[in-house]
């Protein structure tokens, strides 16, 4: 035994530096690897298995393999899933550019030299802190946001102008305004990311552009926007993730109700399958965004 230990020690001793470092790195990641196995890989694997099978006996959790049955059911037979998925995704995809443009504007405002900057920043980051929870969802859902938008409507769009513009135009504008509160409350993290990105752009670039007689408008399109490309990509992806996993999301509600409040004995399997379809759907959108923004990001890296 002793000799064997000595041997291992010798082996360690003769290891290259990079080999040794690899072991130490693995040691640092060991807790995470353990956690990944127990709290991530195992449940995901189980849920995948369940989604492909039928629970015969709930007590022992014996499963019968049924193939793509639940997936087919969700896509072709269920009447609520697809329409709700469509509604949620259209809604979120409309919000996606609005959130990003809005938070970029706000970040550029906060990046200017001005009075009471700390005060405004504190206020603008409030949603990051408190907007995530159930409480805030309730507060915002309690018709408060409704009232806020009503006020915004009245301020930005007086009745006289509404009458003048005609119904369809007003409806579109009002739809936009109604969206605005949701957008604002969902853009806290994005503002932070844009703000720190704006601060990392070297001022000498702007000075050089100024010497070449570029106005602030040109320098925005030719310097700020291209330099921000990686952060825009990150923010787009983040926004998709955040809006698709928000607490009052209809699909997530649907999944939860299936899993825990349904009388249907096979709701467990069905909810797992729906969850997987939803997950793949989100990953597809993210992948698509990555491909679309890849060229702009690569340009910056060069």
């Amino acid at each position: 035994m002793k000799i064997k230990n000595k041997y291992i020690f010798k082996e360690m001793y003769h290891m290259t530096l990079s080999g040794k470092n690899a072991w130490i790195g693995l040691l640092f990641c060991a807790p995470w690897i353990l956690g990944a196995a127990v709290f991530f890989a195992y449940p995901l694997f189980r849920s995948l298995i369940i989604s492909f099978s039928k629970i015969v006996d709930l007590k022992d959790f014996t499963l019968d393999f049924v193939g793509f049955h639940w997936y087919k059911e969700a896509i072709f037979a269920d009447i609520t899933f697809l329409p709700e998925l469509l509604e949620t995704s259209i809604n979120n995809l409309i919000n996606l550019p609005i959130i990003n443009i809005f938070s970029l504007i706000i970040a550029m405002c906060l990046n200017r030299k001005m009075k009471a900057r700390g005060f405004f920043r504190t206020l603008f980051f409030l949603p990051v802190i408190l907007g995530t929870g159930f409480i805030m969802q309730q507060l915002l859902g309690q018709d408060i946001s409704g009232e806020a938008t009503k006020m915004a409507r009245g301020l930005l769009l007086p009745t006289e102008i509404q009458i003048f513009l005609g119904e369809t135009v007003v409806n579109i504008i009002q739809g936009f305004l109604d969206r605005l509160t949701t957008v604002m409350w969902n853009s806290g993290v994005q503002i932070i990311i844009y703000l720190s990105a704006l601060q990392s752009i070297s001022p000498s670039l702007y000075e050089a552009a100024k010497v070449d007689s570029a106005g602030s408008w040109e320098s925005f399109w030719l310097i700020t926007l291209p330099m921000l490309a990686p952060m825009i990509q990150l923010n787009l992806v983040y926004t998709v993730i955040a809006t698709f996993s928000i607490a009052d999301n209809k699909i997530l509600d649907f999944i939860q109700n299936l899993a825990f409040n349904s009388a249907d004995p096979n709701a467990y399997e069905f909810s797992c399958a729906v969850g997987w379809i939803y997950c793949l759907f989100i990953l597809l959108i993210i992948g698509f965004l990555f491909i679309c923004t890849k060229r702009a990001v690569d340009n910056v890296k060069e």
């Binding site: 990944a36 369940i50 405002c109 603008f124 507060l139 604002m184 999944i255």
Partner: protein, 305 residues
Amino acid sequence: MRKNEVLRTYKKTASLFSTIVFYLFLISISFVFVYPFLYMFSTSFKSYGDLINISVGWIPTKLEFKNYIKAAEFMDLNKTLTNSIIVTVLSTVGHILSGAFVGYGFSRFNFPFKNVFFFIVILSSIIPIQVFIVPMYVTYSHLNMLDTFMPFILPAYVGFGLRGGIAIFLYRQYFQGFPSALEEAAMIDGCGRIKGFFKIAFPSAGSITVVTAILFMIWHWNDYYEPSLYLRDGSKIMVTQTLPRLYEMISKDVSEFGVVIEDLSQYHEGVVMAGTAIAIFPMLIAYFVLQRKFMEGVERSGLVG
């Protein structure tokens, strides 16, 4: 000369005008952010009479502190507050420790599958918990962990749980920008890697620790979804879990009878808002106390990169 003067005054007024417009824009937007809080505090001090009186706008005629007492009673504050604090503190500490330790490993060393592992870190904070909530629930019930705080605390110490991957990500970003020369110097003096982490790297990451602490504290405090599944026992519930029942109180009375009955005046919106204020009050305080450090940390955190 004259022309110049006119031009100068013109420019001055124009810049003044644009400044005013700029501040108005910021103030109106910040109003949208503050509005729910103003509404909450204003309503929480209104008596039932004030609520149904249309002429009472933002300022209640009389400060009704009874709302807070009633809400606290209903929420069983002694018990739920203790539970919430235990869960929040223990799991936040877990997220900080695991995030720093594992994040350090990811930033300093090269090992096989490192990129795959890091991809999984990101993935674990992307995939909504609802996707694998069923097997999670079954696992915890097999381990006899339902109605205990273990489902929140245990994953936090291994970098999972509520968005645990984000803590690892934040620390990794920081340590990648932190020069390793300091630890190497210590290693020459005979300091081990792990000791180097605890003595040098981790204390240097103070700003990230503040950011992580605030974010996870608030996420855990506000979390409703998982507690509502794992904690069913009345003596183990957290503060946020009592709120929906408070909300139900007012909606039920109206929907069942359609008319104002006595119970409605017992649990009116004022009480509900008082309860809400109680529930977010600790986090508001924590945010305002730590916000300057938080902002510095966010700016320095290398969220970018």
